[in-house]
């Protein structure tokens, strides 16, 4: 069960209880406090943060897959007095999901935590403790929780490789009656059983391929004027002239490949290459940048017929480039001043125009 430290609070009627330990280890949360020099009876409460799912059960995150998690600790720092510092670094391919610290003492009245957190970025953790008024020897240890997508896993509603019964109670139920899903592949029948066996709907999570249907987008009114290249590329009508990163709270900033890519990934796009293509019936879309001032970004999408189409701003959607040629590759198409190639991405589109599953705004 993936957990991260949540809220810890001490309660006392005396001078005070101070935190000495806050960390997760093997799905078990630990929080400790003590009084200092003067007796101060009290209690401590420890509330944990569940990273997903129902307590006690793993859950697959749709559009993402199963979650791997690890609880790690740094090398303990032992000092006879003063500040003790322990730190750690998140493993490559993993993301920091929570952190904590532990201070113990072997002599004197005790040591208190005074710093528990990320050390400048989200890739490293630092924990510090010190004694107070009186010399107190002891050790300090940094703890952190790191997560990643379980390699090879995918959403219940997407076809792909086998899933493991331990990943999700629904997978376990399906594989009990249809072992093919856990032994050979998670095919369309397995996806169908998400509804028939588990009673869950895949309506919002099943990706599909778009087709070039300009009449939907080119109405000369609300749809055309208030949906731009990002709406069209992700096949998602919002009528808000969607901005990259707005839905994930990071709109704006420098218009360059790195920044737009970061915002697009935050919006749920998966960066890929043309060779890798897209898993889970996701659609290939592409981003380009106009580098000259004033800069801008633009998106293309590859429709089900393998030709690329796009919608320049509030202008009509088109299957032609600036030279009037049908677009077989956005890399070689005439893109006018949008000369910088930004890369390919995978989007959960839909066979229905404007009904892609992206969360954009």
């Amino acid at each position: 069960m993936p957990l991260a430290p949540g809220t810890q609070q001490t309660n006392t009627s005396g001078p005070g209880q101070l935190l000495t330990s806050v960390f997760m280890n093997n799905s078990c949360g630990t929080a400790a406090s003590k009084d200092h020099i003067v007796s101060s009876p009290g209690t401590i409460t420890d509330s944990l943060t569940m990273l997903y799912g129902t307590f006690g059960y793993a859950t697959i995150i749709e559009g993402f897959g199963a979650l791997d998690f690890q609880y790690l600790s740094g090398t303990p720092s032992t000092v006879s007095t003063g500040v003790g510092t322990s730190s750690g670094t998140v493993s490559g391919g993993w993301a920091l999901a929570g952190y904590g610290g532990d201070s113990t003492y072997t002599s004197g009245p005790g040591r208190m935590l005074f710093r528990v957190g990320a050390n400048g970025d989200a890739r490293s953790v630092i924990v510090q403790s010190k004694d107070h008024l009186y010399v107190s020897a002891g050790s300090t240890t940094a703890w952190w929780t790191q997560v990643r997508r379980t390699p090879g896993s995918h959403g219940l509603c997407n076809q792909g490789g086998v899933l493991s019964a331990g990943m999700d109670s629904c997978v376990a139920s399906i594989c009990t009656s249809d072992s093919y899903c856990c032994n050979t592949s998670w095919d369309a029948q397995c996806v169908g059983e998400v509804s028939s066996i588990c009673g869950r709907s895949c309506a919002n999570y099943t990706c599909g391929y778009s087709s070039y249907s300009p009449t939907f987008w080119n109405d000369g009114g609300t749809v055309q004027l208030h949906n731009n290249c990002y709406n069209y590329g992700k096949n998602r009508r919002t009528d808000t002239f969607a901005q990259v990163g707005r839905a994930s709270g990071e709109e704006g900033g420098t218009v360059d490949v790195a920044t737009v890519t970061k915002h697009a990934v935050n919006d749920g796009l998966i960066s890929t290459t043309l060779v890798q293509g897209c898993p889970e019936a996701r659609e290939l879309i592409a981003m380009v940048i106009k580098p000259t001032s004033p800069p801008d970004w633009h998106w293309y999408r590859r429709d089900v017929n393998n030709y690329w189409t796009h919608k320049p701003g509030s202008s009509p959607a088109t299957n032609l480039d600036n030279s009037g040629h049908q677009i077989t590759s956005p890399e070689t198409a005439d893109r006018g001043a949008y000369t910088v190639w930004g890369g390919y991405f995978c989007s959960c589109s839909s066979a229905t125009q404007g009904a892609g599953h992206a969360v954009i705004n």
């Binding site: 002239f241 004033p294 893109r335």
Partner: protein, 157 residues
């Protein structure tokens, strides 16, 4: 004597008609909001700016004197291309209560597609210069950056 009276009558009538027309036009202008959009960006929002009453009157006057493009059909969805880069201007005029559209104009590289005011027509902008007039207004109103204007000028006729 008769001729003089007749001249006076027509003169007075012409004056009254002129006053009525201009007075009405001024009243309409004051109650309208005309907004210009410069179609330039694809992802980011386009520059947009509003015209003052006198600027609206100026644009209307230019639209009124522009000559039709011979053989061009006004029965088209748009005269603006779906390309990356400058894609022309659109003007939308509405009454201040937002209930009635009083202006609907597209301009791109010397051609004007006027749907309102007046009968729909494709007009030649070369003699009236509405496109450059509006773009320079956009720069003056700081809605259009000088860099944007420089790029647009490269494709204007």
């Amino acid at each position: 004597m008769k001729i003089t009276n007749l001249k006076m009558f027509f003169g007075l009538a012409a004056l009254l008609v002129t006053m009525a027309v201009f007075g009405r036009a001024e009243a309409q202008t004051a109650a309208e909001t005309w907004q210009v959009e410069v179609h330039f960006f694809s992802g980011l929002p386009n520059p947009v700016f509003a015209l003052s009453a006198s600027e609206v009157a100026d644009v209307k006057s230019r639209l009124g004197t522009a000559k039709s493009v011979v053989g061009a059909s006004a029965n088209v969805k748009t005269i603006r291309p779906a390309i990356l880069g400058y894609r022309g201007l659109t003007i939308v005029g509405k009454t201040s209560d937002d209930k009635q559209v009083t202006g609907d104009v597209e301009i791109y590289r010397g051609k004007i597609l006027r749907r309102l005011p007046g009968p729909a027509a494709v007009l030649d902008d070369s003699a009236v210069g509405i496109e450059r007039f509006l773009l320079s207004l956009g720069v003056a109103k700081k809605a259009v950056s000088s860099e944007t204007m420089q790029e647009i000028q490269q494709v204007l006729p």
